[in-house]
């Protein structure tokens, strides 16, 4: 299945990428699964997405949890804790 992934703010700079369309196996069915998949790329992916890093994820513009399902056509955004206001 195909999903769109966005990397925002400091995460975009660490990964050198603003986003990508990615074809993933239906077995990668959650936010946690997708994070593990991306970390397996190694290098900055491994370190920037490592467990314990303060990281937020939104699925289709709603804040998500590790167990939030990921489906065909979803937009999944990874970003650091917000600092507006």
């Amino acid at each position: 299945m195909k999903v769109r992934i966005l990397y925002l703010a400091s995460l975009r700079e660490q990964l050198g990428k603003a986003g990508e369309d990615l074809e993933i196996s239906p077995a990668t069915s959650t936010v946690a699964g997708l994070r593990t998949l991306l970390m397996a790329r190694g290098g900055p992916w491994q370190s920037a997405l490592a467990q314990g890093k303060a990281l937020r994820v939104a699925v289709n513009h709603e804040m998500a949890q590790p167990a939030t399902p990921v489906k065909q056509g979803d937009e999944i955004a990874f970003f650091p804790p917000v600092t507006g206001g």
Partner: protein, 156 residues
């Protein structure tokens, strides 16, 4: 629209006047303006760039406004947040709440800012003498937002 994201400045007086215009039931207007400081964490700040997540930002702010209207009986709410490059003394954010009485207007205004700071997808990058850096989220902001959560029932 109770929520606006824009690069340009805003006129708080004009926004407040527009929000309560012709509404004789309004007895209190509370407002908050966030402003760009010239220093942060001990370093001088010359400019600040605000980034957001278009699409999600509007939804997140609308959700916060709806939650405030759900919790307090206030009449009208406006949130304006700027993005792009700002410099010290520039205005960043405006929240206006119009209601019948001050207590609810003050509370709703503070609630909106506390939630905005922890839930709306904005990020600040500041330029300091030693280079550009992303602003880190503050624990005090999370704590400020937590006080609006319903009290947890404790078994102990």
């Amino acid at each position: 629209m109770p929520v606006r994201i824009q690069t340009g400045d805003f006129d708080a007086g004009a926004e407040i006047a527009a929000l309560r215009r012709g509404n004789p039931k309004v007895g209190a207007v509370a407002s908050f303006i966030g402003v760009c400081r010239d220093a942060n964490d001990g370093d001088a700040v010359s400019t600040m760039t605000l980034e957001h997540y278009p699409g999600m930002t509007e939804k997140a702010l609308e959700k916060i406004v709806a939650e405030a209207q759900n919790r307090w009986s206030v009449m009208d709410i406006l949130v304006v947040h700027r993005v792009g490059e700002l410099k010290p003394t520039d205005q960043i954010v405006l929240v206006v709440v119009a209601g019948a009485h001050r207590g609810e207007a003050f509370a709703a205004c503070e609630f909106i800012m506390d939630y905005l700071k922890t839930r709306a997808p904005f990020w600040k990058k500041e330029q300091t003498p030693s280079g550009a850096r992303w602003v880190e989220a503050r624990t005090s902001d999370s704590e400020a937002a937590q006080r609006w959560e319903p009290p947890k029932s404790s078994a102990a």
